[in-house]
């Protein structure tokens, strides 16, 4: 008893063309790494239709592609995700092309989608051809040559600086007479800023449950010269007002020019 292996039986059933086609598609599958993505594969499949790309049957192409994916699956070849995306889309396109258009459907019709795919294939094929034409041109270093002993066409950039004697003297005078312009100088050494005062008081106010004089918040080192004391007093007073405003302290003065005192404001009362 002789039994043909199933493959051979199938081969006998089909005609030569079918075998040829199958072999070709298997060859494609084995060459899957050689493809630059699904569009490239479609283009290759499309070429088997042996027609002008403009008149390619997208429906037939979709079937070829789906057949290819099917084959790959049978041969347990992992296809990259984008090949599967293309397969799903082509299946959708095929159904769109087969069914009568649904007037409620938004977006392009199946024909429009098919025409666009044909355009994409044609464009890709055109770019391939153009690339080949470019690469076949007379190229530098192969057909055309540049000067073998180029000379340096140098451009030395020299920067010179200009300055006049007057500028020089004015600059010197400016440096040497800086002190003459003291009124214009912001001397920060004797400035106690509101920020500094606030920072200091925020740290201390928590402890001031009882009325404490504002003066006691003036930091050490700012009570000496009148100038410094004045600056620090003003800043501390302003900072105290800020704390009152934000509800963190209370301020009290018994009479005009009497010492100003403040204490923490207890939220819970």
């Amino acid at each position: 008893m002789t039994t043909n292996p199933p493959d051979a039986a199938n081969a006998n059933d089909g005609d030569w063309g079918a075998i040829h086609d199958r072999r070709a598609s298997e060859a494609l599958i084995l060459d899957i790494d050689g493809f630059e993505g699904p569009l490239d594969l479609l283009l290759t499949l499309g070429r088997t239709q042996k027609v002008d790309l403009k008149r390619i049957s997208i429906q037939q192409l979709a079937e070829q592609y789906l057949g290819f994916v099917e084959q790959a699956r049978k041969l347990r070849i992992e296809l990259a995700a984008d090949y599967l995306v293309m397969a799903a889309w082509l299946a959708f396109l095929k159904s769109r092309l087969l069914l009568p258009p649904d007037p409620a459907d938004e977006g392009p019709s199946g024909e429009e989608l098919a025409a666009h795919l044909a355009f994409q294939l044609e464009r890709l094929a055109a770019m391939r051809e153009a690339a080949a034409k470019i690469m076949a041109r007379d190229r530098i270093g192969q057909d055309r040559f540049v000067r073998g002993i180029p000379e340096d066409l140098t451009t030395a950039k020299r920067i010179t600086y200009s300055a006049s004697l007057i500028e020089l003297m004015q600059a010197y005078a400016r440096i040497r007479t800086r002190d003459d312009f003291r009124p214009y100088v912001m001397d920060r050494e004797d400035v106690f800023t509101l920020e500094e005062a606030l920072e200091g008081m925020r740290g201390l106010i928590g402890y001031a449950g009882d009325w404490t004089t504002l003066e006691s918040y003036i930091p050490e080192g700012w009570r000496g010269t009148p100038q410094r004391r004045r600056a620090a007093t003003a800043a501390t007073f302003a900072a105290a007002l800020e704390l009152v405003k934000s509800g963190r302290a209370e301020l009290r003065q018994s009479e005009t020019f009497a010492p100003i005192t403040l204490r923490r404001r207890d939220d819970r009362t």
Partner: protein, 218 residues
């Protein structure tokens, strides 16, 4: 300095024949193309490099070396038919991958073109390395950003590309006119068309459906 300024020769440009000698010397000396402006900057005051170039170009017609235009610049290159003599000078250029060659062609024909547009045409994502390779080769550079959402960068081909492939301008790309007439240089995205790449494209968005008809009417 002042005593020389009376010398009229300083204010008279040299004869054109002399200017022709000058542009000839400069173009011979330089391996890179030179613009007439660059040449004029080196020539005596009042010189007209462009006019001198007309003479020079004519002089070298049919010779073993030729004066060629490269974009805005000029260069002297050996005649292509004599390439066989230069086997010793031949430079082994790194073979570009198929992806790189295609990408280069797409940039040349579609420039300025965004990466998303290149991907749309090729149907695959363009690896960073492919464009880097072309930039490194000196054939591609960044163009202006596109004024579309996301302001994507664009790519254009360089003067070196033109020089390398013997093109005067990008208008001389082979088959450009036919491709344009066939509408194959258009970028016409279609809503609902398959997108196998470009989930992260900002500029790859298809236009809203109401614009669609317009897109096809050009």
């Amino acid at each position: 300095m002042t005593d020389q300024s009376d010398d009229p020769s300083l204010f008279r440009a040299p004869p054109l024949a002399e200017q022709e000698r000058m542009v000839e010397a400069m173009l011979f000396a330089s391996a890179e193309p030179l613009t007439t402006r660059e040449m004029e900057a080196r020539m005596p005051h009042g010189s007209d490099a462009a006019e001198a170039m007309v003479l020079l170009r004519k002089r070298y017609e049919g010779r073993g070396v030729q004066v060629v235009r490269v974009g805005e610049a000029w260069a002297i290159r050996t005649a292509a038919d004599l390439g066989f003599l230069m086997s010793r000078e031949q430079v082994e250029t790194r073979r570009l991958s198929r992806a790189a060659v295609e990408t280069l062609a797409i940039i040349a024909y579609h420039q300025p073109v965004t990466r998303a547009e290149i991907e749309e045409i090729r149907g695959v994502s363009v690896s960073r390395g492919t464009i880097d390779q072309l930039i490194e080769q000196g054939w591609v550079r960044f163009g202006r950003r596109k004024m579309t959402p996301g302001r994507p960068v664009t790519f254009v081909v360089t003067e070196e590309f033109l020089d390398h492939f013997g093109l005067e301008t990008t208008r001389d790309l082979p088959g450009l006119k036919e491709l344009r007439e066939a509408g194959l240089l258009e970028n016409r995205p279609l809503e609902g068309a398959v997108r196998v790449v470009g989930e992260d494209d900002e500029d790859g968005e298809a236009p809203p459906p109401e614009d669609q008809e317009d897109m096809f009417e050009d």
